[in-house]
């Protein structure tokens, strides 16, 4: 298959995914993954080196955006609770999935580490959508959920970067440049945005892309992964982006129009339905391990922080999508996990975005009946928060 026809195939999938997403109110990411699975398994769509490269860059851009989306004020407000809940939400499934995949499924230690990282995640975006829809983002349960998810995401990024480091001479410049960027970016960005921002040639997006490519290059030289510095650089830029909605929107436009579709479609294309069919038992077991570990560890803590909403809280902490997919794709492209293991992990990750969310909304949704207390003309009526 020529590279141009691969491009045509991916562009068509991206277009179809957008249409399906709009018509059925589904996340574009899940539709792209599913269509990628269908295209590769039923229509023989193949990948190319440039697709893999763009997918890897899409993953780093997604990580940067995740960092830039962190509400640092919220994190400070709920620091103690979020550190505890978010930390446990990362560690418990990480350790459980690592041990299960190694001892019960016979995966190598390194493959088991990828499994642990991929299944430890909580999807901030899945959580956020539910909270905004229910108005719970303005209540304490919602605020704690969001801030705890930031912490879990940080744990995932940290693990993915540190676990697979091979000590080389390049690790020092990698760490030094990362630290310099995290320190320098908030200082120079306001000036840069003022001087060069708000132009159709988008110097500020080019600055972000340059920094992310630089981190990827240094990460590769040091046999590490740029996900942690990319997350932290995004975090360092979060305050700046909070005051520059237009710039943030333009970055999202570039990411959503081109980079993230390639990432999610490529992830789907790696999934082998044959491998899934041959490992259905393990698939169910891995999903069970993730949810059981989250429930077992987070639920007791959630009870003490949010009381009656603890099951809803814990189920949403059991969701995963973006970081789980990023971790799995990294493991596959680095040769740490094979196609069957990748297929299992991505399927479990997607299932964890859907099933716990559906259960939480269907049976454990907190009462928001007071929503219509204020029938104020023309404004959006939401649950009154307890803040």
């Amino acid at each position: 298959m020529t590279e141009l026809w691969i491009a045509v195939g991916i562009a068509l999938i991206a277009l179809l995914a957008s249409i399906i997403s709009v018509e059925f109110g589904l996340s574009i990411a899940i539709v792209e993954i599913v269509l990628g699975v269908v295209a590769a398994n039923f229509f023989g769509l193949e990948s190319a080196s440039w697709v893999d490269f763009l997918a890897a860059f899409g993953a780093i851009v997604l990580t940067f955006l995740a960092g830039a989306e962190v509400d640092t004020h919220l994190l400070r407000t709920e620091f103690k609770g979020s550190l505890l809940v978010g930390g446990v939400s990362f560690v418990a499934p990480f350790v459980t999935a690592l041990l299960f995949s190694h001892y019960a499924a016979g995966w190598s230690w390194r493959a088991a580490e990828i499994c642990g990282v991929a299944l430890s995640t909580t999807s901030l975006a899945v959580v956020y959508a539910v909270l905004v829809e229910t108005g719970l983002n303005r209540r304490r349960v919602g605020k704690l959920l969001m801030s705890a998810t930031f912490v879990t995401d940080f744990g995932t990024a940290l693990a993915l970067s540190l676990l697979f480091v091979k000590p080389t001479g390049w690790i020092i410049p990698f760490v030094a440049v990362s630290a310099l960027l995290i320190w320098l970016l908030p200082k120079i960005s306001p000036w840069f945005f003022r001087r060069y921002g708000d132009r159709v040639i988008e110097p500020e997006i080019k600055l972000v892309f340059f920094l992310l490519f630089l981190l990827m290059a240094l990460g590769k030289l040091s046999a590490s992964h740029a996900v942690l510095p990319a997350f932290l650089v995004g975090l360092a830029a979060s305050q700046l982006y909070a005051g520059h909605d237009l710039e943030r929107q333009r970055l999202r436009v570039v990411a959503f129009a081109f980079l993230t579709p390639v990432f999610f479609i490529r992830s789907g294309m790696n999934v082998s339905l044959t491998a899934l069919g041959a490992n259905l038992g393990l698939l169910v077991a891995l999903f069970g391990v993730k949810v059981a570990a989250k429930l077992g560890a987070v639920l007791p803590l959630a009870r003490s922080f949010v009381g009656r909403d603890s099951v809803f809280f814990t189920l949403l902490m059991s969701t995963g999508l973006t970081f789980g997919t990023i971790s799995s794709l990294y493991g596959y492209q680095a040769g740490i996990i094979d196609k069957a293991q990748f297929s299992l992990l991505v399927t479990v990750v997607v299932a964890s975005a859907v099933i716990p969310t559906a259960i939480a909304q269907r049976w454990f949704r907190p009462n928001t009946e007071e929503e219509v207390d204020g029938m104020t003309n023309g404004r959006l009526v939401h649950a009154e928060g307890d803040d």
Partner: protein, 140 residues
């Protein structure tokens, strides 16, 4: 006969017909007219906050326009419209709002604006008709 009427709006051609019928009834009976626009669900299982924020902003802008147009339409026919927006499941929200607001009549369209809406149209309309605490008028 009707003192307080609620019309469900979603920006579709059908909901414009529902608005026209509701305005006509409100004018005829001298009833108080309210509209409820339910923004519907945000993208389920999103991958980034940005996707959710952008979808929410698009819905807000869309429904702000719907409300403005509805107010202008009603005012042009001598009726004052009181619009409200909500997020969530349309059927649940309409039924609950009608209960809380003690409406006499709910007016709704038989067709939504998206393909997905059409697929579960019968379910939504049926649910509202079955559970509404008052009379309902389904406009085709």
């Amino acid at each position: 006969m009707y003192d307080k009427i609620l019309v469900a709006l979603d920006g579709s051609e059908g909901s414009k017909k529902a608005l026209a019928a509701a305005v006509e009834l409100a004018y005829t009976f001298g009833a108080e007219l309210h509209s409820l626009a339910v923004e519907g669900k945000l993208p389920a299982y999103a991958a980034t906050l940005g996707e959710v924020d952008e979808a929410k902003a698009e819905k807000d802008a869309f429904f702000d326009r719907i409300d403005r147009e509805a107010i202008e339409y009603a005012a042009g026919r001598g009726v004052e419209l009181h619009p409200v927006k909500m997020v969530g499941d349309p059927a649940d929200r309409v039924v609950h709002y009608a209960e809380q607001g003690e409406f006499d009549l709910v007016v709704l369209a038989s067709r939504g604006h998206s393909l997905a809406h059409r697929f579960h149209l019968t379910g939504t309309a049926d649910k509202i008709i079955d559970h509404a605490p008052c009379s309902t008028l389904l406009v085709r």
